[in-house]
């Protein structure tokens, strides 16, 4: 009796119903070579199983696991009593506390990662690219700390990088720099470390933010939609 190789394989994998399995067993009884083939099929499965078992037992790389952990971002409590006018979010005591040059971009090189249009500073070059593309879970020369929507519904992102840390909000003309400060916390390697941003910057983000920060899925969706 001839046995189709696929049938024999299915038998070795326990994929056959009782009637077909019986038929194969009768054929094996009559032809030991078929039994050896079944044993080889099972040995191959065991070999692959053993080979890849080690991969499933490896610790999962942190950058992958981080994508699936809801980001818990430590933010200063929102000040409920004082509501800054939307047109001057950085005025007064807050701005003073933040030690910020208002759009002066102190510590920010005038070219490369910044451009001006109509007197406003926008992200350019690699910074604009990172703001467009990089999810908060992924590190790089620019680190995205958190993304959120401001009260006008614009997407804003807190970033850290070697030349500067800051907050950029997506507008028609690009990523408007709402806030910058010298990238004092960036490492000398030029690779920003994950983790906490400057508390003053996070306080500023908290003031701008409407609702909660974006979770990983919402951030990925926002990126896919071009931050609009």
């Amino acid at each position: 009796m001839s046995i189709d190789p696929a049938l024999l394989m299915a038998y070795a994998d326990g994929e056959l119903g009782p009637i077909e399995a019986k038929r194969v067993e009768r054929a094996i009884a009559a032809d030991p070579a078929l039994g050896e083939e079944v044993a080889r099929h099972r040995a191959l499965r065991a070999r692959l199983d053993g080979h890849f078992a080690a991969v499933a037992q490896e610790p999962v790389p942190e950058h992958l696991a981080a994508m699936l952990r809801p980001r818990v971002v430590e933010l200063p409590a929102r000040r409920r009593t004082v509501r800054m006018p939307a047109w001057a979010p950085w005025s007064g005591a807050v701005a003073a506390a933040l030690v910020l040059g208002l759009f002066v971009g102190k510590g920010l090189p005038e070219q490369g990662v910044v451009r001006t249009r109509d007197g406003q500073l926008y992200a350019a070059g690699s910074l604009a690219g990172a703001l467009d593309q990089q999810l908060a879970a992924n590190g790089g020369a620019v680190q995205m700390v958190v993304s959120f929507r401001d009260r006008e519904g614009r997407y804003c992102r807190v970033f850290r990088s070697q030349p500067a840390d800051g907050i950029a909000c997506h507008e028609e003309k690009g990523w408007a720099l709402r806030q910058t400060m010298g990238g004092s916390r960036a490492s000398t390697s030029g690779y920003a470390q994950a983790g906490s941003a400057d508390p003053a910057l996070m306080a500023a983000a908290q003031e701008l933010m409407a609702g909660d920060p974006l979770d990983a899925a919402a951030e990925a969706r926002a990126r896919a939609a071009g931050w609009k």
Binding site: E15, L48, V60, L64, L68, Q206, P213
Partner: protein, 175 residues
């Protein structure tokens, strides 16, 4: 500065089910990626791409259905995309041997055995390798594997039997 608080508590609760399930699946997804890709670095790039797609496509996930099958499908499609885009860019994948001994404990013997299996797998055409990976590495039933690959059962079994025969021929003496 006032006291800090954790602002994301609500979101954490809302997201827990989907993302925790994905996190629990991650070791298996990495294993599947390692069977598809040619070296550990490509495999983890593939995982990252698939996870990004899964997070984006979260709305298309139907609770109550099998998340592993859903993710295997996403990962397999990501692999096809990744292979195509690299081809377009004229990049070649790293040689299988280059990454074969990364992350493995044990002596030279273990490493030699590892590259042997990897080399045999990567000598297979993609369609045979993915069938082998789903059934023999991931332990899916034929029907489940056919659904992930979106092919009829007959196609799955013929790819599987050809892939296995090639592997058995190549690894014959050490099986």
């Amino acid at each position: 500065m006032q006291a800090t608080r954790f602002i994301h508590e609500q979101g954490t609760l809302r997201l827990a089910a989907f993302e925790d399930d994905l996190l629990a699946l991650l070791p298996r997804l990495r294993r599947f990626a390692r069977a598809l890709a040619r070296n550990p670095a490509d495999a983890d790039d593939l995982c990252q791409m698939a996870l990004e797609k899964a997070l984006l496509g979260k709305a298309s996930w139907q609770p109550g259905t099998r998340m592993d099958s859903w993710m295997y499908r996403i990962m397999r499609n990501s692999w096809i995309d990744m292979a195509r885009s690299r081809q377009r860019a004229g990049q070649t994948f790293l040689d299988a041997d280059a990454g074969a001994d990364i992350g493995v404990d044990g002596g030279a013997e273990a490493r030699i055995a590892l590259s042997e299996v990897d080399a045999a797998l990567h000598a297979l055409p993609d369609e045979q390798r993915e069938a082998v990976a789903l059934v023999l590495v991931e332990g899916l039933a034929y029907k489940e594997a056919a659904e992930v690959l979106d092919v009829p059962m007959g196609t799955l079994t013929s790819r599987l039997v050809r892939g296995r025969q090639a592997l058995m021929a190549r690894l014959g003496e050490t099986l």
